[in-house]
Symmetry: C2
Subunit: 252 residues, 2 copies
């Protein structure tokens, strides 16, 4: 299964692809030194490999430097729910307390590069740099709020609406990591099975719904890339807040 060696030479944190993200912009040289010191090593995985197994204990903390991955939970008969997708810049493993078993697994969608931190790195970060500790807290809280959106989709949106909102969300997230902002589409490494597992739909129904939207000209999925052909219509369908409409909600 194409297991590759960890690189002998690591990327220094001042060259880290995350440096331009909110968490990292304001940091002084010494804060970068701190990050560097806490960093344990890098880890490279091929597509489809598993970083964290459900139930595993004492997993380290990770940061995703490049590639795509996802967090998931399964039931004992194999039903799987994808909790969210991970893109470059995301944290991994903050949900479980030290000593606890991982409540979810993490698997890659593409070849991926991770930065590995010891479990107590988060505490060191707080202790030695309250600013970075604080920023991290917000980042974690914000990342987790993506799950809130998913829950709204899966709980209350129709199949069409779910597909639409997933496409929009992933497009936005992926486009934000590109220089062209998605003008030429974005990479889209999910299979329809992944989409089904993220949206709480069956594979077959996912396929049919996807085809329907594509035939209507809302999007195009081709050669592993996603193009939004009618972002307006997709947004309307997904009922996404604050995009087309300026929050017209009655607010009681």
């Amino acid at each position: 299964m194409g297991m590759k060696q960890a690189m002998a030479i690591q990327i220094p944190c001042r060259e880290c692809p995350l440096r331009q993200l909110p968490l990292f912009i304001t940091h002084s040289a010494e804060e970068l030194e701190l990050l560097q010191a806490l960093k344990q090593r890098e880890l490279r995985l091929a597509a489809g490999e598993t970083l964290i197994l459900e139930g595993q204990t004492d997993t380290p903390l990770f940061t995703l430097l490049s590639g795509w991955a996802f967090r998931f939970k399964t039931l004992s008969d194999g039903r799987r729910q994808i909790l969210n997708f991970l893109l470059a810049g995301d944290f991994i493993g903050v949900q479980q307390k030290m000593g606890d078993a991982a409540a979810h697994g993490v698997t890659t969608l593409t070849d991926s590069l991770f930065c590995v931190f010891q479990r107590d790195a988060l505490w060191e970060l707080h202790r030695r740099s309250p600013v970075m500790g604080f920023n991290t807290t917000w980042l974690i809280a914000h990342e987790e709020s993506l799950v809130d959106d998913s829950l709204l989709s899966v709980g209350r949106r129709s199949a069409e609406e779910r597909i639409a909102s997933l496409l929009i969300l992933l497009f936005k997230r992926a486009a934000a990591l590109q220089l062209d902002g998605g003008a030429a589409g974005v990479p889209f490494p999910l299979t329809q099975q992944h989409m089904a597992d993220a949206l709480g739909l069956s594979l077959v129904h996912t396929n049919k719904t996807l085809r329907k939207l594509e035939k209507r000209g809302l999007h195009e999925l081709k050669d592993g890339r996603l193009y939004l052909r009618d972002a307006r219509a997709l947004t309307r369908l997904a009922d996404v807040w604050g995009d087309g409409k300026p929050t017209p909600r009655p607010l009681v």
Copy 2:
């Protein structure tokens, strides 16, 4: 709608009902002083009142001192998804960055008492006590991981399984706040509509499923209290990890 006055005399933080929770146990007198200093005021709401409106900006941070509440999102046609239930000791409002609009609303289920903090209290906490900042981060991450469970339920569990897992989860959380550990049941202030909105089911189907489980003797819901009559069977039905069974998952 029974809006009540905020109490003139506030509970000092050293008397706070949260003091025995993980976040608060290890704290020195001066750390309690810090909490006290950051605390702005207390707020009392009646059952069914709204603490935060979706889309509201610059809401303060809250802590729930007593009572029950829930976080939710709605679609523009009124479909509502309850994200999670809030019990004494929970944080509220950490999901949105300063200046952002609230991505979810918060409404009470019972008469409730909140502790109100300024929005920058979280930063002050980090700056002046890295330990408490760190603990807060974990607490937030852990609270948010409850949503992961919900997502698994709504996405992949059948109606019966969803009901079972909700009953178990809420029972455990509520029982942990009682001295008797739930021996005489726990308060259960949700209507079936709330359960439906949390589980992604219709009201009618929620009712039927609930009745079915109750007739089978798995639980009893009476006078606003929940009793688990066959916790083993409920756990099996819900496929909850690490309870009856010692993690028998294959882990591939």
